[in-house]
């Protein structure tokens, strides 16, 4: 009796909690939004009905948040948190099993001289390296993330993209980083982008009913405007993205603080509107501890505490880890460290 009463009036009261986008309840929460994704016209109306972005205000806000001074114990906390949020990435044509294994070893013990350093969140590789990474990380609890769907350009037919995704999942990937079809998005075919994300999300399902988490890469450097970033964020979240990610790291403009701030605002607003929590992953171009801390400040001030964990915020990076380790050594020993004291990847 009370159950049906609660259900009947659920839409009138504030949602008590948010649920994770990868959970089973997420679909239920998204159901009320079904009408905006019912047709191409409805989706277009909705996305174009989102408020425009105040570009100057956004940049100023991002710049202001970048001026916070984080020192001593707070800095130590931020460094450890940032290390635990890293998706340690190698996406080179020249990747070998040996290189992937070395990277995995580094992910487990980022600083072999200091066992108190936390491990990273995930190792991000190409699909053919998933099995190697999975074996190297067995028992560590570190996830294996795999890019898929014809990364980085996304220029392939849908069946190819889905096969790419299924291969990676079958090889043991815990997370799939897909790229959207920027050409379709920029030419206004929103529904085709939406359907593609849904199809890939479906392909992430495993036989046992669980699913690999889906990160959707926008390649914001190619989307031209902040308005587009806001639209594509909502589009991906409506389609069921578990994470939204800025860039592939393969174009000249990668993650920037304003774009990440905009995406953080989008996940915050999405959680408020639907009760579904989606993660954010800036990737590419984040190389220094100072940058990483700026992003963490932004997360805390925009999305809030609930996002300050590796489950909901990630850094797609490779060289960032070394800088974090050097800063950590400086904090613990009092003397400046150098590149001779971290690994060359």
């Amino acid at each position: 009796m009370t159950g049906s009463y609660a259900r009947r009036y659920a839409h009138l009261v504030t949602m008590p909690t948010t649920v994770p986008a990868y959970g089973n309840e997420a679909a239920e929460r998204l159901a009320p939004m079904a009408d905006v994704t019912a047709s191409d016209a409805a989706l277009r109306r909705f996305l174009h009905g989102l408020p425009g972005v105040d570009a100057v205000g956004l940049q100023a806000r991002a710049a202001t948040l970048g001026t916070r001074s984080i020192k001593t114990t707070a800095k130590a906390y931020a460094i450890d948190l940032a290390i635990s949020m890293i998706d340690l990435t190698t996406l080179e044509g020249a990747d070998t099993p040996g290189k992937v294994r070395a990277l995995c070893a580094k992910g487990v013990h980022p600083d072999p001289t200091d066992q108190t350093v936390p491990q990273v969140a995930a190792i991000c590789v190409y699909p053919d390296m998933v099995a190697t990474a999975k074996a190297a990380l067995a028992g560590s609890g570190i996830h294996v993330a795999s890019v898929a769907t014809a990364f980085p350009a996304g220029r392939a037919a849908l069946p190819v993209k889905l096969a790419d995704t299924r291969d990676a999942v079958a090889a043991g990937a815990d997370e799939i980083d897909m790229v959207i079809d920027r050409g379709a998005f920029l030419s206004g075919r929103y529904m085709s982008v939406f359907e593609e994300i849904k199809a890939v999300k479906e392909a992430c399902r495993r036989a046992d009913g669980t699913a690999a988490h889906l990160k959707v890469i926008f390649e914001t450097g190619e989307l031209q405007t902040y308005d587009n970033v806001r639209r594509v964020s909502w589009l991906a979240m409506l389609a069921g993205a578990d994470f939204i990610k800025t860039s592939t790291g393969k174009v000249s403009v990668n993650a920037t603080p304003p774009v990440t701030l905009l995406m953080l605002e989008a996940v915050r607003d999405f959680a408020a509107a639907t009760g579904v929590q989606v993660g954010v992953k800036p990737a590419g171009g984040i190389r220094t501890t100072k940058d990483a801390i700026k992003y963490l400040v932004m997360v805390n001030e925009t999305a809030g505490d609930a996002w300050m964990t590796p489950d909901w915020f990630r850094f797609g990076a490779s060289s960032l880890l070394n800088d974090l380790l050097m800063q950590r050594q400086k904090l613990s020993t009092g003397r400046y460290s150098g590149p001779d004291y971290v690994t060359v990847d």
């Binding site: 050594q329 009092g334 003397r335 400046y336 460290s337 150098g338 590149p339 001779d340 004291y341």
Partner: protein, 296 residues
């Protein structure tokens, strides 16, 4: 309208990575001549400026050490040419720093110092492609091998410039470090840093790649600690820690430097006017020995 021009005073700045930044800390200190008359404000560098300078020096090391010795010699000779062109400015600055501005005998002394400094720079420039011949060797070994030892630069060298000889002393410690392919972070004389900061302008305009020489001004006592303890500094020249004032400083610096086995050049009494010899160059070299089979 009056005929008097408003004087255009120079803002002395640090020299880090080929750029002229103010101190990260925003601090400056007053520089006076020997009589206490104000000359200029110099930046008061902080440990973070020292850190930035080391990063810049490390970044420049690959290119500078990889340049041919002949090329390095030419670049350094070019520095001497530029110094010659700015001779009057350096004479005035050295006279101010070490004597009384405007006094004739002090100016003559300063001129002699500047001339000696330029000559020394040329002398060191010539050593760039000759040092391997006196510090390297072909070693006789019992086997069908060529066995060759060659000197290589040690890396990033922190240099505390002499406190008293603000220009000749500075050139005498800086030139031998960079001629062999090291990169340098120089802490200028605390009391009279202006000639060093002006030398940076010369370096910036004479083909020396940015970051090969980085000049900091400020409290020697404040900067030596972070530099001596820095894990990415390969050697330290403590010339500027000589004398009663800095005796304890040198001991502390040596202890900190031992942590990553830096090469340390201990402070000693040096007559900067005397012929320098090759000691300072040889202090910041590593020997690489290669075995190569003799093809028959």
């Amino acid at each position: 309208m009056s005929d008097a021009r408003l004087s255009v005073l120079k803002t002395y700045k640090l020299f880090v990575g080929g750029k002229f930044p103010r101190s990260e800390s925003g601090r400056v200190y007053e520089v006076t001549d020997s009589q206490g008359k104000w000359l200029a404000n110099a930046p008061l560098a902080s440990r973070k400026d020292a850190r930035d300078a080391v990063v810049a020096a490390r970044k420049a090391f690959g290119g500078w050490s990889g340049a041919t010795a002949y090329n390095r010699g030419q670049v350094l000779y070019r520095v001497a040419e530029m110094l010659e062109g700015r001779r009057e400015q350096f004479v005035a600055e050295v006279a101010d720093a070490e004597g009384r501005s405007g006094k004739k005998s002090d100016t003559a002394k300063a001129a002699a110092q500047v001339d000696a400094a330029i000559d020394r720079w040329v002398w060191y420039a010539g050593w760039s492609d000759k040092i391997a011949q006196i510090a390297g060797s072909a070693n006789p070994v019992a086997g069908p091998y060529f066995n060759l030892s060659t000197p290589e630069p040690t890396g990033v060298v922190a240099v505390l410039a002499p406190q008293e000889s603000s220009f000749l002393g500075l050139v005498s410690v800086l030139a031998p470090v960079i001629v062999t392919g090291n990169t340098a972070v120089v802490v200028a004389s605390e009391k009279s840093p202006l000639p060093a900061l002006s030398l940076a302008e010369v370096l910036a305009t004479s083909d020396v790649p940015g970051g090969v020489v980085n000049v900091l001004s400020g409290r020697t006592g404040e900067l030596v600690g972070p530099l001596a303890a820095h894990q990415d500094v390969n050697a330290i020249d403590l010339a500027g820690a000589y004398g009663e004032l800095h005796g304890e400083l040198a001991v502390a610096a040596e202890k900190a430097a031992a942590d990553n086995l830096k090469r340390v050049l201990r402070p000693a009494e040096v007559d900067w006017a005397a012929a320098p010899g090759t000691d300072r160059m040889l202090s910041f070299l590593e020997t690489k020995t290669v075995w190569h089979p003799i093809g028959i």
